[in-house]
Amino acid sequence: MDGAQDMGGVKGFGPVQPEPNEPIFHGEWERRAFALTLAMGRPGGWNIDMSRFARENRPHDDYLSKSYYQIWLAGLEKLMLERGLISEDEIARGHSLDPPKPVKAVLSSSDVGAMLHRGGPTERDPLQPARYGIGDRVRMKNINPPTHTRLPRYVRGRVGTIELLHGAHVFPDTNSLGQGEDPQWLYTVRFDGTELWGAEADPTTKVSVDAWESYLEPA
């Protein structure tokens, strides 16, 4: 979706402000929000693309005014509410009012290490040969779905060169909707800065995105 999360090239956010000796978390609530989000992935059963969509699918002012872990928290609440795991009333009261919904599994402390070590690899057996090869010129499609996509606005319609092939990977646009993994070839596509930002752009800049095959067409 063309939401506030799609920030590449947007002007007006000001300088980057690195924080010297930054702590991992700023306050106890960030620790707990982070851990709750990771832990709820198991009983919740959603995938990473659903999580990302739950975070980004909100009004621009809401997305931009929330801190990072406030967005995580809002995304987590949305995922749980959508599945009926909890209710608004229960969040407001901070207590369980209804019996829990049956869940497949709960993350125990002894499972954490194995869960993190396993991660969530997204590479799958390819269903067909790759359509493009390294060095091929491709144009990024101009698509503007109202649903989750990982094709940023700033490269749509632009022509680039295939730089890397990563095998077939789970396709977020369908996976985020629960419509299956639809594994597709994943490429790194490199663009000249001038192709993205115009003739005035710094000619020494090259930018790449990782893009699934259905985002591309021959150029």
Partner: protein, 210 residues
């Protein structure tokens, strides 16, 4: 979302912060009562990313690549197994590509769409990496962003920005500083900063200066 907002919540807006704090507390109580989460598991998750997983992991990878040409080759050819050789793998590092800085090419990593970052080697991302200023400008004004970090590169250095839009995670292999011949991996690792592996910094020079 920005670093500025973050400071804002902390420095000036205690009422909003405490509202969030109360909401998180309420949520944890609720989810524990429901039996969906085990608070002990939350503690282990937090401890893992506060105490165990961080940029020191990535620094060891870089230092090994600096001293061992065969390892460097394996790392650049296929990052994930090479990094697993020294014990780092898993969540948000399932598919890692290492990017080599050279005298003519400087690599810098961003996630314009969210906050993708190679957790097993760098830990959790700093606030600025997730902030709107970095995500917006890294792809359109990388030299300006580097200046925000006090880094000025030669005019003819090619700047390669890698936008992490899929589940591929990138780590930059910074250039080894001059004057470190014969150093041990452990000593070299001290020169490898987090920012040098994101590409917003360079490795430290011997003697402390960056």
């Amino acid at each position: 979302m920005s670093g500025h907002d973050h400071d804002h919540h902390h420095d000036h807006d205690h009422s909003e912060l405490s509202e969030t704090e109360l909401r998180v507390r309420a949520l944890e109580t609720l989810l524990t009562e429901k039996g969906y989460v085990d608070p002990a598991a939350l503690d282990v998750l937090i401890e893992t990313y506060e105490k165990k997983v961080g940029p020191r992991n990535g620094a060891r990878v870089v230092a090994k690549a600096w001293v061992d040409p065969e390892y460097r080759k394996r790392l650049l050819a296929d990052g994930t197994p090479a990094i697993a050789e020294i014990g780092y793998a898993g969540r948000q590092g399932e598919h890692v590509v290492a990017l080599e800085n050279t005298p003519t090419t400087h690599n810098m990593v961003v996630c314009t769409l969210c906050s993708c970052y190679p957790w097993p080697v760098l830990g959790l991302p700093p606030v600025w990496y997730k902030s709107a200023p970095y995500r917006s400008r890294a792809v359109s004004d990388p030299r300006g962003v580097l200046r925000d970090f006090g880094v000025e590169l030669p005019k003819d250095t090619e700047i390669r920005i890698w936008d992490s839009t899929a589940e591929i995670r990138y780590i930059v292999l910074p250039m080894r500083p001059a004057g470190t011949e014969g150093w041990s991996e452990e000593k070299l690792a001290d020169l490898v900063t987090r920012d040098s592996m994101i590409g917003t910094g360079l490795a430290k020079k011997p003697g402390g200066a960056t």
